[in-house]
């Protein structure tokens, strides 16, 4: 199971006495947060950047994934000389609670029963996820963050950070995200959850101790979600109606089309690295996210009094988190006279664009961070050389 990979990560352990208060009224205790760090914290502790991962991401943002062996999921953005330059900033990325890469989640052992939580795990929210991250940051002795950055669900966490911990966030970069999950997003998530729960091997969430896993259901969930990450044009260009390793239709239900074969592959590799119950819990947390609702129905209320510098980014072909939802965030920030930049990037690649090679994205993030670093008095380059 994915839980066995924790040894490759740092883990912050919070004891029974250090429980995490949750939005559902409960307390999660004890709990672990698995995380990775890159670069070096400066003497002032003023150069820390928290990277928040998306639904199926994890803490391996800029290092090889222990299960798949693939490079970090955001190495285009994070690394030496990259927009989030680890020779300058100290980068932290933690696995969300409810996740399955070492942070406490539904596949972890419930100390009260001695078996995996399964559906006994409390339903968590984005705010709970952020509250746990804040505990980690505190544990690391970092008084405030130079930047919080993330795309998609990572962007939701970024916004939650900016709203809940105004004094602790010097700058924020929410990318390809929204201040609340749209009904369309909730609908797609529900399809995914139903696919998992319809798999007979889900066993009411008790598959771990029964030695099975709802691989088919989770794969279908991933396949349907994956379509929402791509644009129609990207599918056209990448696959068209091309056939997979064959000259003609088979008049059967094999993966005749390349696009079918691609989705099946995406589904089958996903189940090797992701826990099905985690998928249920994290998609639920996304669905519940509504920053305005938490502030009297007015989004601007979430940001009142903020001194954080914001850089909001969207992509033209992202139909999962369309530009108009980023504009709502910008409008709310303007309403409180916040310091905000907003770029919409021309891209055919759909929602996934934030993870791909998009030079304009890199230009915007790099320029924004450099200006913010100058305002914060961070030196242009860090003294990493002497630690090397």
């Amino acid at each position: 199971m994915p839980q066995t990979t924790t040894q490759t990560s740092l883990v912050a352990h919070f004891s029974e006495a250090e429980g995490l208060s949750l939005d559902n009224g409960g307390v999660l205790a004890p709990f672990d947060i698995a995380y990775q760090t890159y670069g070096r914290l400066n003497a002032d502790r003023s150069n820390a950047v928290l990277v928040c991962h998306a639904l199926t991401g994890d803490q391996y943002v800029a290092s090889r994934h222990p299960v798949t062996g693939k490079p970090g999921w955001w190495e285009t953005m994070i690394g030496p000389g990259k927009p989030v330059d680890i020779s300058r900033y100290f980068v932290i990325c933690s696995n969300v609670i409810g996740g399955c890469m070492g942070s406490t989640g539904p596949a972890s052992i419930n100390p009260r029963t001695g078996r995996a939580y399964g559906l006994e795990f409390p339903v968590i929210t984005i705010r709970d996820v952020v509250r746990a991250q804040a505990r980690l940051i505190e544990r690391l002795g970092i008084p405030d963050l130079f930047c919080v950055i993330g795309g998609s669900m990572g962007g939701a966490q970024t916004l939650e950070w900016a709203a809940s911990y105004k004094e602790k966030v010097f700058s924020a970069v929410p990318i390809a995200t929204a201040s609340r999950h749209s009904p369309q997003n909730i609908a797609f998530n529900e399809v995914g959850r139903q696919a998992v729960m319809a798999d007979p091997d889900w066993r009411g969430g008790r598959y771990v101790e029964e030695g099975v896993a709802p691989r088919k259901g989770l794969a279908v969930a991933r396949m349907s979600a994956h379509i929402t990450y791509l644009s129609s044009k990207a599918l056209h260009e990448k696959f068209g109606r091309k056939l997979q390793d064959r000259e003609a239709f088979t008049f059967g239900f094999d993966a005749d089309f390349q696009v079918e074969s691609y989705l099946r592959y995406q589904g089958s590799t996903f189940v090797d690295r992701f826990d099905a119950n985690s998928y249920l819990y994290i998609t639920r947390a996304m669905d519940y996210f509504d920053l305005a609702a938490d502030h009297g129905g007015v989004l601007a209320g979430a940001f009142r009094g903020t001194k954080t510098r914001f850089c909001v980014v969207s992509f033209t072909s992202d139909w999962l988190y369309p530009t108009r939802e980023s504009r709502e965030i910008v409008r709310a920030l303007n309403a409180v006279a916040a310091n905000v930049s907003f770029v919409e990037i021309e891209s055919d690649k759909g929602h996934d664009a934030f993870l791909l090679h998009e030079p304009e994205l890199f230009g915007a993030v790099s320029g924004f961070l450099s200006a913010a670093a100058a305002r914060r008095g961070l030196p242009a380059t860090c003294d990493l050389a002497e630690s090397a």
């Binding site: 907003f342 770029v343 919409e344 320029g367 450099s370």
Partner: protein
């Protein structure tokens, strides 16, 4: 250009909103020379991306539509440089500038300049000059006005003129101390510092 003059009108270390900030030239100048806390709003997305990559705080937006989002008096100066004549609703935009900024700085090409008057008189056609290089059917500038027209609009929206300067095509001050009717004749551009 009028940028140096605008920079001179803006006090140091204040909050500035540059409406129609283009590629951020004026904002960069204001940050470098005046240490302002600057924001920009710009219609062209490619210009916005350019500005943000330079480290400027700029959002994509439309002066005609998006200024209403900003709260009252949220900036010390709201600047509209060479953009008024390209807006659909100049009066609305001017009112918004005066609401958002404690001061408004507005610069525009002066359609009352003698060469334009002469061109219209002798040729009978819309003037094309080095300052206004595009034909009437191609130009973004859909609401040209003269210095006198602008003064009348200021009166209509009850804006007080704190300072006004007429410039020639090279951005040099001319007609200092002359009455507005003369400035309107010899100024190719004008810069106004206004307050409500």
């Amino acid at each position: 250009m009028d940028h140096l003059l605008i920079a001179e009108m803006v006090k140091p270390s204040v909050r500035v909103l540059d409406v129609g900030c283009g590629d951020g030239e004026l904002l960069s100048l204001l940050e470098a020379e005046r240490d302002v806390d600057g924001r920009g709003i710009e219609l062209s997305q490619s210009n916005v991306n350019l500005c943000v990559a330079k480290g400027l705080s700029v959002i994509q937006g439309d002066a005609d539509r998006d200024l209403t989002n900003f709260p009252d008096a949220s900036f010390d100066y709201a600047i509209l440089s060479q953009t008024l004549q390209a807006t659909r609703r100049p009066r609305h935009v001017l009112e918004q500038l005066l609401r958002i900024g404690r001061h408004a700085v507005v610069s525009f090409p002066n359609f009352g300049h003698w060469r334009i008057r002469l061109h219209l008189l002798t040729e009978g056609r819309m003037p094309v000059t080095p300052n206004m290089p595009e034909s009437w059917y191609e130009t973004q500038n859909i609401h040209y006005c003269t210095i006198k027209d602008f003064l009348a609009l200021c009166a209509t929206v009850e804006a007080k003129v704190e300072r006004s300067v007429a410039l020639n095509a090279y951005g040099q001050r001319i007609g200092l101390g002359l009455p507005f009717s003369w400035q309107n004749l010899i100024g190719e551009q004008a810069v106004f510092l206004l307050t409500k």
